[in-house]
């Protein structure tokens, strides 16, 4: 039931773009994205709900394909501050229980 993230790691230079993917074998009600910097707590980025509603930061964009049970996070014009590990979390059932997180994608942005 754990979602699968790809790629496992991305190395970018400032200004470059990246896409992080998240897929599940189960029907998804929502997909959540978090970023965790080394030694810190995960921080909320975005929620994508079934039906198209999104809640999150304006500078982060993502998509959610309900039929394919996939989500993608788009990081454009990357900055040094984007470095960290990105986790997607998927809801296990519609009644709203806990998020199940993927193993993460590590993004390294250099100048």
């Amino acid at each position: 039931q754990q979602p699968v993230q790809s790629p496992q790691a991305v190395i970018l230079r400032e200004g470059e773009d990246a896409v992080i993917n998240c897929s599940s074998s189960k029907a998804l009600y929502s997909v959540h994205w978090y970023r965790q910097k080394h030694g810190e707590a995960p921080v909320f980025l975005m929620i994508l709900l079934k039906g198209g509603e999104q809640k999150g930061h304006e500078k982060i964009s993502a998509s959610f394909n309900e039929k394919k049970q996939q989500s993608s996070l788009y990081l454009t014009a990357s900055q040094l501050s984007y470095s960290g590990t990105y986790f997607c979390g998927t809801e296990r059932r519609q009644a709203g229980t806990a998020l199940i997180f993927g193993k993460g994608t590590t993004l390294s942005v250099s100048s």
Binding site: A41, P42, F87, Q94, I100
Partner: protein
């Protein structure tokens, strides 16, 4: 305002000992979650409280793990007869949602790093 507070930040114990980890959520948050995170892995779900009751404890790995939230605020994760494999960072998160049909934004604490020797 204060965020999610977890104590202790670090705990070193010997195999077989009993450990308690405390989580103080953001005031007014009704939902509280425990996760644990091993190095290089994503947070692994343990248990979720809605108010005082455990809404979902299916992530607890075995009966050595137990959690309570008696007054709907502070929660304690209890681990009996600790094993080396229990070593991880234990994360607590809270959310303001009271029921409903999706998990809202989770506010995570800094975690309690447990090392079992």
């Amino acid at each position: 305002g204060a965020g999610v507070s977890q104590t202790p930040s670090n705990k070193v114990t010997e195999k077989g000992k009993y450990v308690e980890l405390r989580c103080d959520p953001i005031s007014g948050h009704t939902a509280l979650y425990w996760y644990r995170q091993s190095l290089g892995q994503g947070p692994e779900f343990l248990i979720y409280f809605q108010g005082t009751g455990a809404a979902d404890d299916s992530g607890l790995p075995n009966d050595r793990f137990f959690a309570v939230r008696p007054e709907g605020s502070v929660s304690t994760l209890k681990i009996q007869r600790t094993e080396r494999g229990d070593s991880a960072v234990y994360l607590c998160a809270s959310s303001p949602l009271a029921g409903g049909f999706n998990t809202g934004e989770l506010f995570f604490g800094e975690g309690s790093r447990l090392t079992v020797l």
